[in-house]
Symmetry: C2
């Protein structure tokens, strides 16, 4: 998912109404590709929409998920994180600074087919997370 218009088009196509709150959440997700938590989104849009509630953020993130617009991730801490990038990709989570870098590696293609053959498992989603230290944190003393 790249542009706001594209995202709104998708939502409308699935019968999801466009409200100011949803616009705000969507804009935040699209302009901060940092895989924020629900609470981060809430605090970010709070100044401009002083009366959005946390519940609304959760409701809408779920609505977006059901529409196939975002996925829910987990970075190891105990709060879900959300990702609007629907192009297949994976995540490198830095365990020191918490940053999540998207990456793609062709080595991981074909896994779904292999699993279907070997285990009879019908894959609907791959969730590949690699943990470690990013380039910057490696060069910094602990």
């Amino acid at each position: 998912m790249r542009s706001y218009d594209e995202a709104v088009g998708l939502l409308k196509g699935r019968g999801v109404r466009i409200t100011p709150q949803r616009t705000a959440i969507l804009q935040y997700l699209l302009s901060h590709r940092t895989h924020p938590t629900a609470d981060e989104i809430y605090r970010a849009i709070q100044p401009s929409y002083p009366n959005v509630s946390v519940a609304t953020v959760y409701n809408n993130l779920r609505a977006f998920q059901e529409a196939g617009l975002v996925r829910e991730l987990t970075a190891g801490d105990h709060a879900s994180r959300f990702d609007v990038n629907m192009v297949p990709h994976h995540h490198a989570v830095c365990d020191r600074c918490g940053k999540i870098v998207d990456f793609y590696h062709p080595q991981l293609d074909g896994l779904a087919e292999a699993m279907e053959e070997e285990l009879g498992f019908a894959v609907t989603e791959q969730r590949i997370e690699v943990h470690g230290l990013c380039r910057e944190c490696r060069q910094r003393p602990s």
Copy 2:
């Protein structure tokens, strides 16, 4: 990690004391390779150890993690799950019955090296989760 004795040896080697509660948790993990949640473990050992507290289960799962004996997973629901299998492997989560099947596929080897070269990222852990329907659930009507 395969046997109880092996696990206890590792814990002792790291200065982790062996208590009845820890024994119970460990035995449960080793005999139920179902990647239970903290609460499942709590309820399972409750009859035999009527006064263990949930806090103790959490404390000990964390102690085990720090000793490198278990890893924390997430199956998409909002409770952490715990895994004693320290042999490199991945997880196929059935989104209908919740079962987690361990699997290993050589296609996933070498990923860490590739990431180090391309992104300068020092990988400490791979967390590969595939979601979908298991063989049994596919054959069952929804």
